[in-house]
């Protein structure tokens, strides 16, 4: 299945443009959406989840606008909003039963089967009786994914799921997303570049509501190939360097700044070319580190 975002714009209160003509195509697999806080990621995801109406533009599934049959589209999606609390007083089974009801799964046998299936996929089989309030952050995110998987939707929309998770929980969650994403269209929004690097073959970058890049993750990295340099400079030279090139990172070792920058040519003495990462490419695409 192919999901196409076509010229989507969204404005609030006339003059606040949250999204400005975003267009890209989401193939099967995990698709990454990255951008700074306030870049328009959540707005876009909420539009894709049909919770928000765009000011202009449309979303197409296999070439057909979703507005032609919105209820059918809604049956195709699973959605995990940002920072959702997931009803802490319930245990996972009760919570999923309620969500199944919201999704329109009425047949009790089907509901029971779906709940069990999703509990197992999320790896929460041993935590059935525990209330969600007792779950760790990672378990809560997995519970969130479990509800998104109810009814076997084709499209799964996940908004910043790894924020605040410890490394182990984060990895566990990403593995889960990755395994689920083999046959589905998963849209994963995050501002953690490493999450995208690890599991998303395709990526879209948003900055201030505008789409800066859309395509393969490797292509994104290649966009700064042979353009990334590293140099040890003297303290105080950072500002001068920022005027000449896009600085992607500065670290200080023994008081000396070590700078990574993107430029077609070396702009300071002693620069050596190094292989770029997605983070370098991203910082370059959004015009440097925000201050």
């Amino acid at each position: 299945m192919e999901l196409t975002i076509h010229q989507i714009s969204k404005s609030y209160h006339k003059d606040v443009l949250a999204l400005d003509g975003a267009s890209f195509t989401i193939p099967t697999g995990v698709y990454g959406l990255i951008g700074r806080n306030g870049a328009g990621k959540t707005t876009l995801l909420r539009i894709m989840a049909s919770v928000l109406t765009p000011s202009s533009g449309e979303i197409l599934v296999d070439g057909k606008p979703i507005t032609e049959n919105l209820s059918a589209y809604r049956k195709m999606i699973g959605y995990l909003p940002q920072n959702t609390k997931l009803m802490p007083q319930l245990n996972i089974v009760e919570f999923l039963e309620y969500m199944a009801m919201l999704k329109g799964i009425r047949d009790k046998t089907e509901m029971k089967y779906e709940v069990e299936r999703c509990v197992e996929i999320a790896g929460l089989g041993n935590e059935r009786k525990k209330r969600l309030s007792k779950y760790s952050g990672g378990m809560l995110r997995r519970a969130g994914i479990a509800q998104a998987l109810l009814g076997d939707p084709k499209i799964i929309i996940v908004d910043e799921p790894t924020t605040g998770l410890d490394p182990e929980e984060r990895l566990h969650f990403l593995n889960l997303i990755s395994s689920v994403g083999l046959e589905k269209n998963i849209i994963l929004s995050t501002h953690i570049i490493h999450d995208i690097e690890n599991i998303c073959p395709n990526v879209c970058i948003l900055n201030k509501g505008k789409m800066m890049y859309s395509g393969s993750t490797s292509g994104m990295v290649d966009s700064v190939k042979d353009m990334l340099w590293e140099a040890v400079i003297s303290p105080g030279e950072e500002y001068e360097l920022k005027q000449k090139a896009v600085v992607t990172n500065i670290t200080y070792t023994y008081g000396k700044p070590i700078v990574r920058y993107v430029s077609e040519k070396s702009v300071c003495e002693g620069s050596v070319q190094i292989p770029p990462t997605l983070e370098d490419a991203y910082i370059y695409a959004v015009g440097g580190v925000a201050r």
């Binding site: 319930l90 009760e94 009801m101 329109g104």
Partner: protein, 233 residues
């Protein structure tokens, strides 16, 4: 707003406060007369009941899911509520005889409510209609309107109109009973509408049932005690 929601959500004692108010209305305390003759206070408390109800509107997460999955008003209403519908009605039905044991609902210059059957049915009708009405209103606001401030305002306006209309309809049945019912029903709305509040009432629904019956029983015994003292003196 979020702070208030958090408060309601986390602090069960607020719900118990509502119960305290019901108790003040029901129990023959020195304050009963004061509350009886100050309708403005009752109106204020009714609004407070409304606030309690409207606070549920801020449960954005659930609404977000509901909208995304196309869970319409009826699906939310009947899928989640209908199985629980009988329970509050049953409680109300059981409690009514006790309620009437110490409340004279005879109006002044209004319809004659002296027949127990008529009184019983009137209050039950009021309970039922209020429950249906507030449930429908709250669900409508949550799922359709969504904007919490608009919903808040709408709830107050509609509730106020409903309150006055009901008073007119019942031709002077003392409003304090009705206000007590409202708060009582608000509690049900809280518990039944949203599974997040599942165990608010002392752990579970039976806790609530026990609390309901206990309160009414205590008030009945106190009244009897008071009557005996009056007779003996």
């Amino acid at each position: 707003m979020k702070f208030f929601t958090y408060y309601i959500y986390k602090k069960r004692w607020l719900i118990l406060l509502a119960w305290g108010y019901v108790a003040v209305l029901v129990l023959p305390t020195p304050y009963t007369d004061f509350f009886s003759y100050h309708e403005s206070f009752e109106m204020y408390m009714s609004f407070w009941a409304g606030i309690l109800s409207a606070c549920i509107l801020t449960s954005e997460d659930e609404t977000e899911f509901a909208r995304c999955y196309g869970a319409s008003f009826p699906r939310l209403a009947f899928g989640q509520w209908l199985p629980h519908f009988l329970y509050p009605l049953l409680t109300a039905f059981l409690s009514c005889p006790l309620y009437f044991a110490f409340h004279d609902l005879r109006p002044q210059g209004g319809r004659d409510f002296s027949s127990l059957g008529v009184r019983y049915m009137t209050l039950l009708f009021s309970v039922f209609v209020t429950f249906l009405f507030l449930s429908a209103l709250m669900l409508f606001l949550r799922v359709v309107v969504r904007n919490v401030y608009v919903s808040f305002a709408a709830f107050f306006v509609v509730y106020f109109v409903f309150y006055e209309f009901r008073r007119l309809l019942l031709q002077g049945v003392y409003p304090r009973q009705l206000v007590a019912c409202d708060i009582w029903l608000t509690g049900f709305l809280f518990e039944r509408a949203f599974p997040v509040t599942k165990d608010m009432w002392l752990g579970n629904r039976f806790g609530y049932l026990i609390l309901s019956i206990s309160l009414l029983l205590i008030s009945y015994l106190l009244l009897k005690h008071q009557q005996n003292r009056t007779i003996s003196s």
